[in-house]
């Protein structure tokens, strides 16, 4: 990815706040409206939380890599881990009418991103590809 920001952190929940800060600043640098930025901040946080919980099964000593790029008003965010391969058939949030703890993260991710897909070319671990088409820049 050209013109990208890359952030590497440990798979510990304390780094989620740092990832959120980078997400927010990257968006504001590129004139993303605040409401959308808020949704993106949540979605990226949820995707990284899922890496810690599911791909790494709570192991906080591993690595998460988050990459950001903006090209022609398409925001691309890539989240890489070296954990257990995702089984796509398990990737499903709960029915929103079935009230119980958990199962909301994927809903938050899919709500804001246009595409949410795992890179099939990735051999080890997972590479989650997220993208969103934005409107024209609201500043400058």
């Amino acid at each position: 990815m050209n013109d990208a920001v890359t952030l590497k952190v440990r798979s510990h929940p304390q780094y989620l706040a740092l990832i959120r800060d980078v997400t927010v600043r990257f968006c504001s640098m590129h004139g993303v409206p605040d409401a959308v930025t808020g949704d993106l901040r949540l979605a990226v946080d949820e995707a990284c939380s899922n890496v810690i919980k599911h791909a790494y099964r709570g192991d906080t000593s591993r690595r998460i890599v988050v990459k950001y790029a903006m090209m022609e008003r398409v925001l691309r965010i890539i989240i890489e881990d070296a954990g257990e391969r995702v089984r796509p058939e398990r990737m499903q949030g709960r029915d929103l009418d079935d009230i119980r703890p958990g199962g909301l993260g994927l809903h938050f991710i899919r709500r804001v991103f246009d595409t949410v897909a795992y890179d099939p070319k990735r051999k080890k671990g997972n590479r989650l590809l997220l993208s969103k088409q934005l409107g024209s820049r609201n500043e400058d």
Partner: protein
């Protein structure tokens, strides 16, 4: 994240602040479960100073509510900032939790 437990007109109020995420929500969970163990009739959580909440924070409240429902206790939320209210609405949880504008609205219900 900041959690202050206080009293408002004879009701327990949890004043929550800052960022509630996977890192901080376990602390919230522990505090809530200790409070709920006393089986309060009503527990008010004031969201005025909450700047962020993710699904782990929401899950914590869903869990708390389930416990309270076993003895017909009420979990009320007051002063929810707009961005957070949208998350509750989207998750269809605005129908599940008792959402109140202000602390006074909560206690008068």
């Amino acid at each position: 994240m900041k959690i202050d437990v206080g009293d408002y007109k004879g009701n327990t109020v949890v004043s929550l602040g800052g960022e509630v995420d996977m890192h901080t929500s376990p602390v919230l969970r522990e505090k809530l479960l200790v409070l709920i163990r006393e089986k309060p009739r009503r527990l008010i959580v004031d969201f005025r100073e909450v700047s962020y909440i993710d699904s782990s924070g929401i899950a914590t409240f869903v869990e708390g509510l389930k416990h309270m429902k076993t003895y017909n206790g009420r979990l009320q939320f007051s002063e929810i900032p707009q961005g957070i209210m949208e998350i509750f609405s989207f998750s269809k949880l605005d129908k599940v939790f008792e959402i109140c504008g202000t602390l006074d609205e909560a206690v008068s219900r």
